[in-house]
Symmetry: C2
Subunit: 319 residues, 2 copies
Amino acid sequence: MSDAIRERLAWVAVDWGSSQLRVWGLDESGEVLVRGGSDKGMLTLRPEDYEIALLEVVGDWLPASGRVGVWVCGMAGARQGWREAAYLPVPTRLDDLAQGAVMPTVSDTRLDVLLLPGLCQFADVTGCDFDVMRGEETQLAGLVAREPGFSGLVCLPGTHAKWAWLERGEVKRFATYLTGELYGLLAGQSVLRHSVADDGLTEPGCREAFVAAVREASARPGEFARLLFGLRAADLLDASLPAGEARQTRLGARLSGLAIGLELSGVRHDLSASSVTLVGGEALCERYALALEALGHASRRVEGEAAVLAGLGLARAGT
Amino acid sequence: MSDAIRERLAWVAVDWGSSQLRVWGLDESGEVLVRGGSDKGMLTLRPEDYEIALLEVVGDWLPASGRVGVWVCGMAGARQGWREAAYLPVPTRLDDLAQGAVMPTVSDTRLDVLLLPGLCQFADVTGCDFDVMRGEETQLAGLVAREPGFSGLVCLPGTHAKWAWLERGEVKRFATYLTGELYGLLAGQSVLRHSVADDGLTEPGCREAFVAAVREASARPGEFARLLFGLRAADLLDASLPAGEARQTRLGARLSGLAIGLELSGVRHDLSASSVTLVGGEALCERYALALEALGHASRRVEGEAAVLAGLGLARAGT
């Protein structure tokens, strides 16, 4: 770590997930000077462990004297995390997240830590259902920071994929689909685990198999559990499938398409209006873009890391 | 084992599943004289282990001299089982299963073992999809043995729930739903595992929660993955839920209802015609009956063990 970087460090951005800790050191202009992280996610930590886990990453970045603000989103603010930052109920303005931030106790006098809250939604007569998010709200805030007054439908694909309806910078409602976790359980631990593999849709025929599966599951969502077993049966009986590994990637592409197609069937009434803004990593967002395109819907992508940093920066600017 | 029983033993019936071995000793009239079993299912055995595993259960039942027929359905006839009994493609008459039986090599001269085949279905233009069953076809045969010329829709709930369309004793087509496995993975290994428990729908409010979930998932199958995450969110936010264990059983009942409701949504076009015949154990069939009733459909139950024995007896009589 050069002294030059240490001198320019203005603040630290943290995305503290269930299984991963990701950290960035930024200068006053928002430029990333240094990045780091570890696998010390919320699930592995007791409250007293957080400061140590953070210092393992940023200890070497900090100046000898003076205080540095550390802005944290994600599971560190959960009840079972570092300190609870209570959920803000929707509708919520996204430039207001810092109002719900809490400061955990820290020993190192160089650290000013703020944990941002997540969002929650209560069931109501309009058809909204109970829901929670923690971490994704900061990416949504980043979208609003980059595009003030943003209105539209936003999807953040992942283990628990979030769909959020934004109006002029405000989250009106949101919905979480367990899609990524469902896919992971089926691909890794079900009877299908011997039949499927993931190659990122690069093998010949995999994109086509993915697209066909998206269309099938979204057209017949009630048959999802049957289409799943059909992968096993096709592995045993379908002579048109290639052999060996190519067979597994083909069926893996199909499994992914079924899971995402089921999700898109759930949000289909909201898809007609406008283009979907996907926020996240390149590979998964491309897969969602392909699935949306297969159903005739446009999308565009905002890089997930840029959104987190912009969201944490917006919270910092708001205090 | 009394000599009287040993003298009356006419044949042995075996249901050899992936994880369980179930065995019955019967007299010529079909009366069960003795029953046994072990956890030596197909997944734990190499081909050379099957005879030993069988003799561990029936060795003491066999007469000193003479041969006893052993009729076996289930995974012992799979490619990775004792010896492969190739699938019979549908449509298939159920009184014909013995035509596809194979005899594995055995050392003990008192044993005449026959492994019954499963059924398979190839994809075709009428909308049939690839599918396989192994074991359930024998229960269907048992239904036909008890009710010759049976026509109607039959459901065999389980890890891989089977729906079969029968016409005058013939399986025309069938469909497998991965419902039980999906439920098991979600209840045991997903983020929902801390929120749910199963009490067999006995706690107050559980039947109602189950029925409501069946209706929701069958009406909005595309939202299945959202309704799943909604269980986690309700656990965090829903003040109307009871506390502690009662909360978990309530949410567990709801999870079960969502999984079964999704399946019923898939077969709903076939449900309107007539009553569904459920074949299987009491608890799970009662749950399916309750779910069907919630959607306005009648059902009746045929005991699963009786169906297996009648099916194996029909195969024996046919040779």
